[in-house]
Symmetry: D2
Subunit: 339 residues, 4 copies
């Protein structure tokens, strides 16, 4: 059994992580930290755990013997805590943005000055389908963002194969409100969100930089693209509608590029039809479909993930599975809830 701890167990990503790990057949949770609810039972915060409870800690004990620590903390906070965990020999899977970037300058530009650039260099970007070999031997994982997972995976093979123009890539993304985390905020209250829909952070959302850095790997050139997030009146799920200009490529060409994913257990490429949120919510899947608009020489891709699973907690567990030599799918559902 892998002994795992979670720091930040009562945020929404932490909640989902705790749920998945508590049902994972190869994991024993040895510590669950929540500063705001230390000393309480988890079921006092989330009564959904009445059937399988644990006590929340204010911090990991000195005697903590976890093999792996999941840090589900705000960016800027993780980088204060992760170094000491690494120093104690723990493997760390960090769900914040703090260890996702190759380039500390990019991190600084979109977030803030990085405080442990050496660790940043050692960290492995935990996008499992792109970086699998490095993940297996990693000590520190920068677990990808939700929007970025949903955006990078469908574009990566096409840019690698040079099938689409690198100009005029537009990602119009729509996310459920759990992506904003658990917070007291008027803007996320039911009365404000239900029967509403809005765009936000247009042209300035931080995930833009993460998407661009990783897609630049694939294209072997600098990519700059439009990324527009929207807030859906749903709890879970991200759907990205992606536009790219093409010339003389066929449906088969695109499907061939996606063969890169043919042995990936969590990626479903649609022969026809397009994915919807309910095709993925509750699972760790990334579903991808597309339409070639011959009239306009444009490719329209639709990709979907569950933002809390493949976009956060599920991918973190997938990373752990890889790091410990388990079947990648252990404890993660390939079947979505649908309802």
């Amino acid at each position: 059994m892998i002994k795992a701890s979670i720091i930040g167990a009562t945020g929404y990503a932490g909640l989902e992580l705790t749920r998945i790990l508590s049902l994972h057949p190869e994991v024993k949770i040895v510590g669950a930290v929540s500063r705001m609810a230390a000393g309480k039972h988890l079921s006092e915060v989330y009564p959904s755990f009445k059937g399988k409870d644990l006590v929340l800690l204010s911090e990991l004990n000195d005697s903590d013997d976890s093999d792996v620590v999941f840090t589900a903390l705000p960016h800027g906070v993780s980088m204060n805590i992760v170094p000491s965990l690494i120093a104690k020999g723990k493997k760390v899977i960090d769900l914040s943005a703090d260890f996702r970037y190759d380039d500390a300058d990019t991190y600084k530009k979109w977030y803030l000055e990085h405080k442990c650039k050496d660790l940043l260099e050692d960290a492995v970007y935990g996008l499992c389908e792109i970086n699998k070999d490095k993940i297996r031997t990693a000590k520190l994982i920068g677990n990808p963002g939700c929007y970025t997972t949903c955006s990078i995976l469908p574009l990566y093979p096409l840019l690698k194969e040079g099938l689409i123009s690198t100009d005029n890539i537009i990602i119009d993304a729509k996310s459920g409100t759990s992506g904003a985390g658990r917070k007291e905020s008027l803007g996320f209250s039911f009365c404000e969100v239900n029967e509403n829909f809005k765009a936000y952070s247009v042209a300035v959302h931080r995930h833009t930089s993460e998407i661009e850095e990783k897609l630049s790997w694939a294209a072997n050139k600098n990519i700059a693209l439009s990324f527009t997030p929207h807030l859906l009146p749903v709890k879970r799920g991200i759907l990205a509608t992606i536009y790219a200009n093409i010339e003389n490529i066929s449906r088969k060409d695109v499907l061939d590029a996606y063969k890169m994913y043919s042995s990936e257990p969590f990626i479903n490429v649609y022969e026809n039809g397009l994915p919807e949120l309910k095709h993925v919510n509750g699972s760790n899947n990334v579903n991808i479909g597309f339409v070639i608009d011959e009239r306009l020489n444009r490719l329209v891709i639709v990709s979907c993930i569950d933002n809390l699973i493949k976009g956060a907690a599920g991918q973190a567990v997938q990373n752990m599975n890889l790091m410990y030599g388990l079947d990648e799918t252990t404890g993660l559902s390939p079947v979505a809830w649908y309802l």
Copy 2:
């Protein structure tokens, strides 16, 4: 034109009041007060007013010339402000609980010590269909609560006519989340409310006392009943399912009792079928249907209102219409939105 001011224009009841009054053909809004947004345009808080804007004040000017002031403030706050308005000769329609009770002791028991009991005595309970004559000449209206409006109106005629047992009356009520007002609260966030449903304040909700006091008028004896509120994942609307024991009464007997409302423009009694939220939301209507369960000698009533309109702002405007001798329906829709 009636010159009207609103104190508390940016809460949800205040929003709805401002929307209705800004479209009312006989009203000119001369002051809209919001301490939290003073100096801003209303459209900065609610962009729904982009097409018909006004500037928010920190308090009513000394030169304020309003005829009537609507106070949409928390209970306990209104009673600090209303006396000076009355002293200036304004008519006041108060949407809080502060001027709803006959009995200051009941108010104290369920809320707090009352600070102006003499005004409380002069205040008229603004349940239009029950208290119409007193309202016409009132200077201070205690506008009824939302749950109470939806509960009292269907029961009043039956208790008055002695058609139901006064024991074992149970009101199982379900409200949209706007009833909780506009606030930063985790418990009312979209992720917590959507796809959820819960009971709250079971056996201790304050509206119980308001319902009991007014129904005791009708029954001419003290009424004590169960009132259980629930939180619906909808924005607007209250539906109350009401149970009362009966003996040997017919459908016709109940319909006859409801003839008391036959000339009321906003009460729709169903000959058959039962009301639903979408039959009333957006209107000032109270819709009432019922089933006689002969197997159990029990009457089951279903009543619905829009909590922000008939349960707050609409009823306040109906009171104003009565106080100024206008057609009661002026500026208030008898047709619901349905969608």
Copy 3:
């Protein structure tokens, strides 16, 4: 491995059953029947199965070697199909109403004339926490209804212990729309249901008779009660608010009665607080809380289940686990989704 088949795999209960069984560690699905989608892949109907697909059959093959067959069919249809399955030596878990009743006359009165009364006599009512021993050796299970599971379990111990009056029991129940099944119906369209709420089948819902028959077992006398279902604008979950008159009983008395469930893995009795849909949805749990209203000598109980899991597919799998000597919880989550 248990070889299991599902007849009616593409209704909503069938969908949930197929999802649970496809992830169950001790089950191999050997047949999934859907007349309306025979020959298709399940993922063509529900793309949520893209990651774990199967082909739908028009009927079970002659060579079918399943040990247990789940029939998820409309009432009246099951009783035409189950006899031949039993004759072939299959164990059968039927999710319709056809094999739930002790009394064929009650079934006739609320549904229709029963066609195989002898099988009805042999069938075991599959409410696991009440009927566990009989279930272990049963060949044919009548899997309980959703409303009934949520209503019977909280009341059973109280009636057995004589803690509540058998008069004036009122069950005010609210269900998500998946309870109505998968159908093309204007009344269940999004535009009609969202931001709406309604009561239906007041005083005449069929589940009333199932609740009454089983609670009469507990009380050892005939029980007649009010049961009012309502349609919530949510996909999943049932919450029942239950009212019963009491005399001089304490909170401890009620908790003592519920000790009957203390070793039940799926029943959570709340020491304080009340359950909500999100405390149970996604799990097989039944959560029960209550308030004693001393002012009125009335007990108010709130109980919640996921209608598709404990109310249908999960309980069916729990029954299968019991029939095959597995740990009752195998393949069933004790942790709810919360989000």
Copy 4:
């Protein structure tokens, strides 16, 4: 008073039209036709009309004396009915696609062969803010589509002024489900739509051709663009996110172009911030905001309408107001519901 009739009063556009007209101070509804509900009261179909009812007809009487007839029928059906109404001297406002196109060949290509091309030539495209003078004297109005209204109005001034590139225009639009009309369809059931989101008709939606034809007027050249509709889990409202390439234009340039709308009562251009559905739903407004992404030389526009009001019934009434010389805003709200 204008005597108005509605053919197709019980579809969702018809419902909204009937609601608006029944409250319009200058209109008397003299006929409401619904083949499916002829003879019934409107309140039997939509109990939201309990407070202001009318009887539905199977067709307009021979003695029908309406001045104007609104036809809210499926495309292909309207063109069978409108000619006889015109022949009788009625003014007609048709809400289908049948009279929207300049070019019968375009109509044929995206819909079907047109049956009355001469009337098509006389028909005026009822996009009020673009075509106001022609509308005033029109006898037959082709009322614009919902997606098209939301797409054309923000782009028209920019194309007219040559501020954006005509290549690479992408309209990513999201609509509430009422846009699909009132129908029994599994795909629009609550369980399928809630907590879901999907794209549909990618690259082939018919409204593409209507948008392109009208924007070609503005640009004075043929426009071809990407239009992608999505289905939101909301009842009402359309939000379009529009991308266009630019070169060296400023925020002021865009605002200057929008001055074309400065006297339009229903168009709100945002100085800053972006519109959301709840800024427009319930009103006849078109709200437009934008961001200039200087990093990419791209303009991102967000526009919103209520699909049933400005996208259908409200615009139809606005057209009527213009045709009868009324203030354009009569009976139409410039204030949205917000909640």
